[in-house]
Symmetry: C2
Subunit: 362 residues, 2 copies
Amino acid sequence: MKRALNFNAGPAAIPLPALERARDELLDFNGSGMSIMEHSHRGKDYESVHREAIALLRRLLGVSDAYEVLFLTGGASQQFAQVPMNFLGPGRSADYVITGGWSEKAFEEAQRVGAARVACTTKRDGTFTRVPTQDEVSIDPSAAYVHVTSNNTLYGTQWHWDLDPKGRPLVSDMSSDFLWKPFDVSRYDFIYAGAQKNLGPSGVLIALVKKSFLAEARADIPVIFRYATHAKNDSLYNTPPTFAIYMVRNVLAWLEGIGGLPAIEARNREKASLLYGALDRNEGFYRCPVERASRSTMNVVWRLASEALEDRFVAEAKTHGMIGLKGHRSVGGLRASIYNAVDVATVKALADFVDEFAKKNG
Amino acid sequence: MKRALNFNAGPAAIPLPALERARDELLDFNGSGMSIMEHSHRGKDYESVHREAIALLRRLLGVSDAYEVLFLTGGASQQFAQVPMNFLGPGRSADYVITGGWSEKAFEEAQRVGAARVACTTKRDGTFTRVPTQDEVSIDPSAAYVHVTSNNTLYGTQWHWDLDPKGRPLVSDMSSDFLWKPFDVSRYDFIYAGAQKNLGPSGVLIALVKKSFLAEARADIPVIFRYATHAKNDSLYNTPPTFAIYMVRNVLAWLEGIGGLPAIEARNREKASLLYGALDRNEGFYRCPVERASRSTMNVVWRLASEALEDRFVAEAKTHGMIGLKGHRSVGGLRASIYNAVDVATVKALADFVDEFAKKNG
């Protein structure tokens, strides 16, 4: 079997060892004569997977006891509503930093729950080409929290510095770059990340919540939407998406095995450098719309002179086994998502093709 | 590999052919060189799975175009809140028929969203041993909807007749017996069922919503919680739990292959008859707390003279490869969940053991 060179934006590539492990024990987990999918979420086999996934995450990131680690469902889109439901009480307002389509959705959903305010937007002429500087962000000194989106899959921008929220709680949607490198969790009060980029399949979301922030959450919303419910019950209040969590465990175990976050950061920087390098070498033929200081290491976007040429790029790349290179339907152009599971050789093949295609058509 | 005799209450047994299919193509779906988990939810490979799952469900149940078929997340527990968020506007009240622990939770959650009222409860002395008769249910003529729970996993009761909601919309949580037999969907306005009993793994929920009822839903709640959002976008508004839906497809394809709902109903009735038959033959040694007319075909519960004897039953059954027989932690006793994927031979083995154990210890 030949593996595709998978540049999908999410659901996306999953490390082969994590998939092979799943395949090998799909019918018989740990000698139980059952698939992990058939195990009770209250049984010791599944519980050991559940706890191992949490322990791996804590070890990889150095998450202290000041934080709860939660498995939730509904993806980031549900968190867009659930965060304000928990933390945006009557009479309060929350600050949103708008750096792309997902931050816009988060802001719009917050407005349906309570009062929300734009602390900064980098939108110009209907598009986003960068993240802001600290000076551009005006933070309401009484904001319930400040919300940022760490990486923007649609526009290919990424924060390469941490916002100072001026003493307000900092909430970050890290769905598309969580675990791409080590970072200081203690700067954040609430972090959430859908699994389908760097963590595993779709169907589960990981949240880290500072206990002191959780203590401020509302208790007058439905039980199922309270983060406190899931924290108190170790994410076993109701039946969790057991197989998706099992896959996250497999991916995190692979990540630890290859050397953890320092190792994956080195790989990710090498990959980004290979691909941006090829695009920059052929500047003029290709155009990267994102400002250099805001370039994403996860989602690389670029344009060609015409949509016809972009379509030809996608079609020819496909004959080389490369898939997922079409930009998001809302922005067009080309995009290569090079998440943790995409290896250096795969990105090297794309970078070579980028050179070749420019030579042939430039 | 010896398969366990799996009587788990959920997550529960999955048909072997559905699991084998997943294993065989786990690394390479449809010759794509990628796992189905790695495919984009906007790509044609995944979309064909998504649409096939919906089409299979429509065919198996005979669901008309008057209904939307939705894939949602968060399990039944999230629906306990989401149903009233959508259908219980200010100034309205909803009626709940309480027949077990899950209906109680649904009712309590509804009260956190709006006004809810008990139309009937069959709770006596802290427990439930039956579903009500039509006469016992007093329906508010202006109720926003009437909510029932078709089968009660904890107490082993099941409705064997359809409630007449007296012209009010009828909402049913069918999580634990959906698709156990053919039924008339048109009697219901909203049906929901978590997958982890009869449909596949945990992590996805199927909902059927009558379009005329959907038209009454509130539009002033967060977008992600509006059923209309998911209906309008074919359950692809945000990233769905693709692998869980793929497994549901595999299970529904298996169900169609064995003859659909009439065939599974015959099997389910045979299984229930085998197990209740063995318990009844040894009445006195075993005690079934549920009234005969309310006995569940999915979850069979019984008691022995002492907890020590119950523990021994579980332990000895385990030596025969039978697992999942302990009752729910909130009620104790014994419970065998014999969902669609549990075959007749497996239940026959348990029924034989029930006889044997009574003979040896009676």
